[in-house]
C-alpha cells in the first residue's frame, strides 16, 4: 500500500464530502432544514478551501491524495496545485456570498415544505461539491462524472421558476451540455485506448505527439467548449442565464461556466505541455476574440438588463481563451511563467466576482421595479443607490478600468500579447474593453437619469442583501491590487516547475 498522500491530502476529500453530505441531509430532513444545513456548511467549506490554499502555499507543492490507497493508474488520485487552490478559495468565497444573498429570495417559510427553497439549497450545495470535484480531480473519467454532477445541478436551476421560456432554455442547455460531455468521453476513451491510463499526471508522461493524441485532445476540447459556451457554442447561454433567478444566474455565470474552462487549461497545460503546436492555440484565441466582439456587440443591442449581462458573459468568456495563444509558446518551453497565464486565471476569478455582483444587482433591480427593461430604469439610481453602485463597480472590472481585477488581468494579457509579438490580441482586448464600457454606460446612464414621476417600488430591498452585492463587487475591485507580475501561488505544482530558475 503506497503512502496515500501528502500531509493535507484528506482536505481534498473533505472538500467533496462536506457538500455531498449536506445534500443528503437536506433531502432527508426536508425543505425546512435545507437552508439551515446549507448556511451551516458554508463556513466549514470556506475553512476547508482556505486550509487547502494555505497548505499549498506553505508546502509550496501540490497536494496529492490516492482515494482508497489505490495509486493510479488503477486507482483515482486527487491533486490540488496552486491553480486549483486559487479557484477553490475564490469559489468558496463566492458561494458564501451567493448563499447569504439568496436567503432573501429562497428563505424557508413556516409550514409545509416548499419546492423552490429545497431545490435551490440542495442544488447550491451540489454545485459546490461538483466544482470542488472538478478542481481537485486528476482522473479524466472522474472529471467526467464531476462535470455531469455540475450539469445536473445547474440545469434545474435555470428553470427553477417554471416559466415556459426558462424550460426551453434549460432543455437547450442540457442538450448542449450532454453533447459536450459525450465528445469529452470520446476523447477520453481514445486516450485510454492509446496510453492505458486516465490519470492526467501519468498521461503527461506517456503522451506522444501522434494523431490519436491530437484527435483525442481536439474532441475533448470541443466538448468542453460546448459546455463553456465559447463562441460557436454560446447559443444556449443567454436565455439560460437570463431566465434563471438572480442567485442562480450569479452562480451559473460566475462559476459553473468556469469549470469546463479550468479543464481545458488542465488538458492543454498539464496533460500535454509539449504537444499543442501554435495553430491550435491560435484557433482557440480566434474563437475567443470572436466571442468578445460578437458578445459585446449583441449585448449593446439588448433591451433587457439580464440578457445584456448574459451576453456580456459570452464576451468575457472569450477573454479567458485569449490566454491559450499567448501562454502556449513553444520557444520559452514554460508557458506558465508568462503574464498571460496569470492574466487568464485572474480574469476567470475577477469575472466570477464581478458577474455575480452584477447579476445579483440586476435581480434586486428587477425585484424592486417588477421588470428589468433597460428603458424603464430611470430613477433607480436614486431608489437603490448601493445596488446601482455595485453594478457600476462590477462593470468597471468588466471594462478593465484600474483599480479592478479585470484591469490587472487585461493588462497582463496586453503585456503578454505585446511581448509575444502577437499584437492582434492586444487590439481585441482593447476593443472588448471599449465595447464593455459601451454597454455598461448604456445601463448606468439610464439608471442615473432622474425619473419624471417618483418610482413605484414594488418591494423594499433589505440593506443586508445590498451589502452582500456591494461586498462581492468590492471583491472584484480588491483583486485589482494583485501585483502586476506572474502570481507565485498560481505557479505552484506545475508539472516541471523545478526546471525554471527563479520566477521572473
Amino acid at each position: 500500500m503506497p503512502s496515500s498522500a501528502t500531509a493535507g491530502g484528506f482536505l481534498l476529500v473533505l472538500a467533496i464530502v462536506l457538500p455531498a453530505a449536506g445534500v443528503l441531509f437536506s433531502l432527508v430532513l426536508g425543505g425546512r432544514h435545507a437552508e439551515r444545513i446549507a448556511l451551516g456548511l458554508m463556513p466549514a467549506g470556506l475553512t476547508v478551501a482556505w486550509a487547502i490554499g494555505a497548505t499549498v502555499w506553505r508546502t509550496h507543492s501540490a497536494l496529492k491524495y490516492y482515494v482508497g490507497n489505490w495509486d493510479p493508474p488503477l486507482g483515482i488520485a486527487f491533486r490540488a496545485d496552486g491553480l486549483s487552490a486559487a479557484m477553490m478559495m475564490a469559489s468558496s468565497l463566492l458561494i458564501c456570498g451567493i448563499g447569504l444573498f439568496a436567503r432573501g429570495q429562497f428563505s424557508t417559510r413556516p409550514g409545509a415544505e416548499q419546492r423552490a427553497p429545497l431545490v435551490f439549497w440542495v442544488l447550491l450545495l451540489s454545485i459546490w461539491g461538483a466544482l470542488n470535484a472538478v478542481f481537485v480531480g486528476s482522473d479524466l473519467f472522474n472529471l467526467y462524472v464531476a462535470l455531469e454532477l455540475l450539469t445536473f445541478a445547474a440545469v434545474p436551476l435555470v428553470s427553477l421558476d417554471g416559466r415556459a421560456e426558462t424550460l426551453s432554455a434549460a432543455l437547450r442547455y442540457l442538450l448542449f451540455a450532454l453533447f459536450g460531455s459525450i465528445l469529452y468521453l470520446l476523447g477520453a476513451v481514445l486516450l485510454y485506448g492509446a496510453y492505458g491510463t486516465l490519470d492526467t499526471v501519468l498521461l503527461s508522461g506517456r503522451i506522444r505527439p501522434e494523431p490519436i493524441a491530437w484527435a483525442a485532445v481536439a474532441l475533448m476540447t470541443t466538448g468542453l467548449l460546448a459546455k463553456a459556451a465559447l463562441y460557436p457554442f454560446h447559443l444556449w447561454l443567454p436565455p439560460a442565464h437570463a431566465g434563471a433567478p438572480a442567485p442562480a444566474s450569479a452562480i451559473l455565470s460566475g462559476l459553473v461556466v468556469k469549470a469546463p474552462f479550468f479543464l481545458v487549461v488542465r488538458l492543454w497545460f498539464d496533460v500535454m505541455p509539449r504537444l499543442p503546436e501554435h495553430a491550435a492555440a491560435q484557433l482557440l484565441g480566434a474563437l475567443g476574440a470572436t466571442a468578445i466582439i460578437l458578445g459585446s456587440v449583441v449585448a449593446l443591442r439588448q433591451a433587457r438588463l439580464k440578457l445584456l449581462i448574459a451576453y456580456s458573459t459570452v464576451a468575457q468568456i472569450g477573454y479567458l481563451f485569449l490566454m491559450f495563444p499567448l501562454a502556449v509558446n513553444p520557444e520559452t518551453g514554460q508557458p506558465w511563467t508568462t503574464a498571460a497565464w496569470t492574466g487568464g486565471i485572474l480574469q476567470a476569478v475577477s469575472h466570477a466576482f464581478a458577474k455575480a455582483a452584477m447579476f445579483m444587482a440586476a435581480g434586486l433591480i428587477a425585484e424592486a421595479l417588477g421588470h428589468d427593461r433597460i428603458a424603464g430604469l430611470a430613477g433607480i439610481g436614486r431608489a437603490l443607490p448601493i445596488t446601482v453602485f455595485a453594478f457600476g463597480l462590477g462593470g468597471m472590472s468588466l471594462m478593465g478600468l484600474p483599480p479592478s481585477g479585470g484591469f490587472v488581468a487585461k493588462a497582463m494579457l496586453l503585456t503578454a500579447a505585446v511581448a509575444a509579438g502577437q499584437w492582434w490580441w492586444a487590439v481585441v482586448v482593447l476593443a472588448g474593453g471599449l465595447l464593455a464600457g459601451g454597454y455598461i454606460f448604456l445601463v448606468l446612464a439610464r439608471a442615473l437619469a432622474d425619473a419624471s414621476e417618483p418610482l413605484p417600488l414594488l418591494s423594499t430591498i433589505t440593506p443586508g442583501r445590498q451589502a452582500v452585492v456591494i461586498a462581492l463587487a468590492l471583491g472584484a475591485v480588491l483583486l485589482g491590487f494583485v501585483p502586476l507580475r506572474p502570481l507565485e501561488l498560481l505557479q505552484i505544482g506545475r508539472p516541471d516547475i523545478a526546471a525554471i530558475e527563479g520566477l521572473k
Binding site: 489505490w70 493508474p73 431545490v119 451540489s126 472522474n142 434545474p156 428553470s159 492505458g196 491510463t197 501522434e210
Partner: protein
C-alpha cells in the same frame, strides 16, 4: 467471424432505421431493438456485466421512458416536422458525420498493437478486495469514488426532475393514477412477473460480487418491476416529500459515505477497506445502495409529481 459481421450489419441497419424513421414511436421501437442487439455485441466483446446493464438499463428502462414520452408527444409531431432543415444542410451534415466516422475508424485502427491494459493490475490486487468479479472490484474498490459520485448524480437528476413540478402539487405523487382492473391482463402479468423479477433482481445483485452482475443491474430489474406494478395500478407512487421515501433514497449513498469515512481510521484512506473484512464492508455498502438506486431509477421513470397527495 461471420456472426460478428451479420451482427454489426444488423446494428447499423437498425441504427439507420432509428434515425430515418418518420414517426417517433417507430424510431423508439428501433432504439429498443438496437439496445437488445447491442446486448449481443457486449456478449461477443466478453463483457457480460455490461451486457446485463445495456439490456436492463440501456434498452429496457430508457426504452420504456422514451416510449412513454413519444406516446404523450405524438400530437406535436406535425409542428416539429416543418422545421426539417433543407436538403443542402442535411447533405453537409451527412458528409460531416461520415468524415467524423471515418476519422474514428482510422483512429481505432491506429490504436497501439500491444494494447495497454490494466487487467493484470486489477487481477493482482483483487485479493485485497475479497471480491471475485473484477468489474465489481473496479466499481466498488479501485474506483469507488466514481460509483459514489455517480449515485449522487442519480439523486441530483431526481431532484432536478422533481423541481419541474408546479408549486401547487409539491409533496404530491409522481405520475398519473392508474386504477387496477382486477381481471385485466396487465394486473395478471404484474402479479405473476413481479415476484419472479424481484427474485431475479436480488439474485443478480447478490451474485455480482463473484460473477457477472452487481448492484446496478439488480437495482434496474427491481426498478423495472416497480414500474410494471405501478403501470398495472397495483402500487401507487409514494408522496414526494414523504420522510420514508427520502430515507430510502439517501440511505445508499449515506452508508457509502459513512463506510468510506471510517476507512480513514481503519485503513488509512477515504474509501479504503481493511483487508480482513473488505468483502463484508463492500456487501454492507451494496445492500442499501441497491435499494437506493432501485428507488431512484423507478422515480426517474415515474417523473415529476403531478397529483396532489390528497386524491
Amino acid at each position: 467471424m461471420a456472426f460478428d459481421i451479420v451482427l454489426v450489419l444488423l446494428v447499423i441497419g437498425v441504427a439507420v432505421w432509428t434515425i430515418a424513421a418518420r414517426d417517433t414511436f417507430a424510431a423508439v421501437i428501433g432504439f429498443v431493438a438496437l439496445g437488445l442487439l447491442l446486448t449481443l455485441v457486449w456478449v461477443r466483446l466478453a463483457a457480460p456485466d455490461v451486457a446485463l446493464t445495456e439490456s436492463a438499463l440501456g434498452s429496457g428502462l430508457t426504452g420504456g421512458l422514451l416510449l412513454g414520452a413519444s406516446a404523450r408527444l405524438a400530437c406535436s409531431e406535425a409542428t416539429a416536422s416543418d422545421e426539417e432543415p433543407g436538403a443542402i444542410l442535411q447533405l453537409i451534415a451527412a458528409v460531416l458525420c461520415a468524415l467524423m466516422s471515418a476519422g474514428l475508424v482510422a483512429l481505432v485502427l491506429l490504436l497501439p498493437q500491444p494494447a495497454p491494459t490494466l487487467a493484470p493490475q486489477a487481477v493482482a490486487n483483487i485479493a485485497a478486495t475479497g471480491l471475485g468479479n473484477p468489474v465489481t472490484a473496479v466499481l466498488m474498490a479501485y474506483r469507488a469514488i466514481d460509483t459514489l459520485l455517480e449515485v449522487v448524480v442519480l439523486l441530483l437528476a431526481l431532484v432536478g426532475i422533481w423541481s419541474l413540478a408546479p408549486d401547487r402539487v409539491w409533496g404530491g405523487l409522481p405520475g398519473p393514477r392508474r386504477h387496477a382492473d382486477p381481471n385485466g391482463l396487465l394486473t395478471f402479468i404484474a402479479q405473476l412477473l413481479v415476484p419472479i423479477g424481484i427474485l431475479v433482481g436480488i439474485y443478480i445483485f447478490w451474485v455480482g460480487s463473484v460473477a457477472p452482475g452487481g448492484e446496478f443491474q439488480g437495482a434496474t430489474i427491481l426498478a423495472a418491476m416497480w414500474v410494471l406494478a405501478s403501470m398495472a395500478g397495483l402500487v401507487d407512487a409514494p408522496s414526494v416529500s414523504g420522510r420514508r421515501l427520502r430515507l430510502m433514497l439517501a440511505v445508499g449513498p449515506a452508508v457509502f459515505f459513512a463506510i468510506g469515512l471510517t476507512g480513514f481510521a481503519t485503513a488509512g484512506a477515504f474509501l479504503a477497506y481493511p483487508e480482513a473484512h473488505a468483502k463484508a464492508l463492500i456487501l454492507t455498502i451494496e445492500v442499501p445502495l441497491t435499494l437506493s438506486i432501485a428507488a431512484t431509477l423507478a422515480l426517474l421513470v415515474a417523473g415529476p409529481p403531478e397529483r396532489a397527495s390528497g386524491r
